[in-house]
Amino acid sequence: MPVTVQTAPVGRTADGGGPRVRSGTWRYVGGKALGALGSLAFILTFNFFLFRVLPGDPARNLTRNRKIPPEQVAALRESWGLDEPLLQQFLLYLKALLNGDLGISYKFRLPVADVIADRVWPTLVLVGTGTLIATVVGLWIGIKSGWNRGSRFDKVTTGSTLTVYAMPEWWLGLILLAVFAVGIGPLPGVFPTGGLISPGVDPWSLEGILDMAWHLVLPVTTLALAYLAEYALIMRSSLLDEMGEDYLLTARAKGLRDDLVRRRHAVPNALLPAVTLVALNIGFVVSGAITIETVFSIPGLGLLTYEALRVPDYPLLQGCFLLFSIGVVLANLGADLVYGWLDPRVRG
């Protein structure tokens, strides 16, 4: 993937460029960081109100129709300070959060923060590798089909990407699981049916890492397939937007080969909107991780969310929601910074 961006001399003044560029960059980074902080504050407040301001008594709401021992309800009322005024409750909540106190999980009878900490890295590995593969392959397909619009490759890939896009990603996972792990008819399954590592293998040895990679083949493939479809569609339409532009005509007129026109001129420009959309999509990839971890029983945050909602274990659910949201805000901030680096124009 050529990520060589045509750095147009915009936003960079010829005289005394140095300090002005730097202040522009800092203003851009600062603005984005401030925006992310705003989002975080919003999420924290939203999370607070989500569980408290619904009509009626929150503790009763959460326990409605469910068998939860009265002492747990009392503990909930106590820890939330439900008899205090709302502002007091909010301050109590913020103080607990700052101390890393997310409450005690009903299911595991352990602090939520500890339960979550153990489950973060499988999700990071799954989402990270899945997104990477989906982005590279998806953008490649999008470029190839967009550049040769109407070709056979374009028709086949657009049709199949639209179909995959219409699939719930976990259903795709179920099918892959049935075919490649369980096996159909006379064909035996090849891959493990679930989990992250075979029992009794040390995760820090070479054997353990290979074993984990083997366990992750199907889940990562599912995630990558589900999202590469979307990235291919985005990249294709982004490239098509650039197709009619005059600078491509100029590039052709000066005698560049078709291949070079694509690589040096069209793709770098088309890549920019695609990068933003890929970043915005991280929230959806996280959603995909929840269901895919459930299907392949990978002990990450997604499976933890599923376990929490089946109980339902509110403190744990709230903790997972908070962590997912913060993760997405940070990922978006990262993408914004990469975007600013790729496209000097936005730094101004």
């Binding site: 989500l50 719930p168 976990w170 929230g283």
Partner: protein, 294 residues
């Protein structure tokens, strides 16, 4: 008299859109698939007896493969999968459409207002949209659905309030484009109030885009409903395609190789979602000339 002219003009433009739409073969195919599924959902009582949904009245063997009596086999409690599938179409389409209505109403209101009102109120609405856009959809939907409890309307409400920001952003962009047009300036100069400007000038012009976006939103709403139901948040009394897949997964249909229980609900979801996507894309191409060449 002016209303009749407006009506005639509207009818004319609808006819033009239809003529243009017919040229998109994939859009027509989508429309045909949709018609089929909507018919199945409407005539469900005629196609399969509702008593077939009752676990206590199930007649078949659990998880038996397709036979003349049960064309798509049976589920883990001996109910006909075909019956579940037919009644599931009702649930999936109902939730998908209701969620879309909720999402479109919120999204259009916020989007038009954010685009129309400058200053701090517009900026605030825009900020709010962006904040909601960042919250990951499924974790939020799970939390909301767990708090509200499991019912069809609740699921639709949850999907509606988690999916409006995308619409709001699109509509805001459209509104900003219209705000710059001379006819709105003329209306303002003639003394039109905000309400008149929005309902008579902005809304009619963004409506086509809202409509194209709606069909795409239905696709996403149905996918979301399926996912939430698969996670066990669906209405336990009214199984949708997602709840069927939930039961199939938890009753071990994967390991026993009960393909008739896993494939049909998934294929139905894919067909309906694909159909809405194709219709939506075709509509977008008709209404947005910039995309027409694709």
């Amino acid at each position: 008299m002016t209303t009749s002219i407006a009506r005639a003009r509207r009818r004319e433009s609808a006819a033009r859109v239809w003529a243009e739409f017919r040229r998109h073969r994939s859009g027509l195919a989508g429309l045909a698939i949709l018609t089929f599924f909507i018919a199945v959902a409407l005539f469900a009582p005629l196609l399969a007896d509702e008593s077939g949904l009752d676990v206590t009245q199930a007649t078949g063997e659990p998880l038996s493969p397709p036979s003349p009596e049960y064309p798509l086999g049976t589920d883990e409690s001996g109910r006909s999968v075909l019956t579940l599938l037919i009644w599931g179409a009702r649930v999936s389409l109902f939730v998908g459409l209701l969620a879309t209505v909720i999402s479109m109403v919120i999204g259009t209101l916020v989007g038009v207002a954010a685009g129309h009102f400058g200053g701090w109120s517009g900026a605030t609405l825009n900020r709010l949209t962006e904040w909601f856009l960042v919250i990951p959809f499924l974790p939020l939907a799970i939390v909301l659905a767990t708090i509200l409890g499991r019912s069809l309307v609740n699921i639709a409400v949850v999907i509606g309030i988690t999916s409006w920001p995308g619409t709001a952003r699109l509509i805001r962009a459209q509104t900003l484009g219209i705000e710059a047009r001379p006819f709105l300036e003329r209306a303002k100069a003639l003394g039109a109030g905000h309400w008149h400007q929005m309902t008579r000038h902005v809304l009619p012009n963004v409506m086509p885009m809202v409509f194209a976006n709606t069909t795409l939103t239905v696709a996403i709403a149905i996918l979301s409903e399926t996912t939430l139901a698969f996670l066990g948040l669906g209405d336990p009394l009214r199984p949708s395609w997602g709840s069927m897949l939930d039961s199939a997964f938890s009753s071990g249909a994967i390991t026993t190789g009960a393909w008739w229980y896993i494939l049909p609900p998934g294929i139905c979801v894919v067909l309906v979602v694909l159909a809405f996507t194709l219709v939506g894309r075709a509509l977008e191409a008709v209404l947005n000339p910039r995309l027409r060449e694709r």
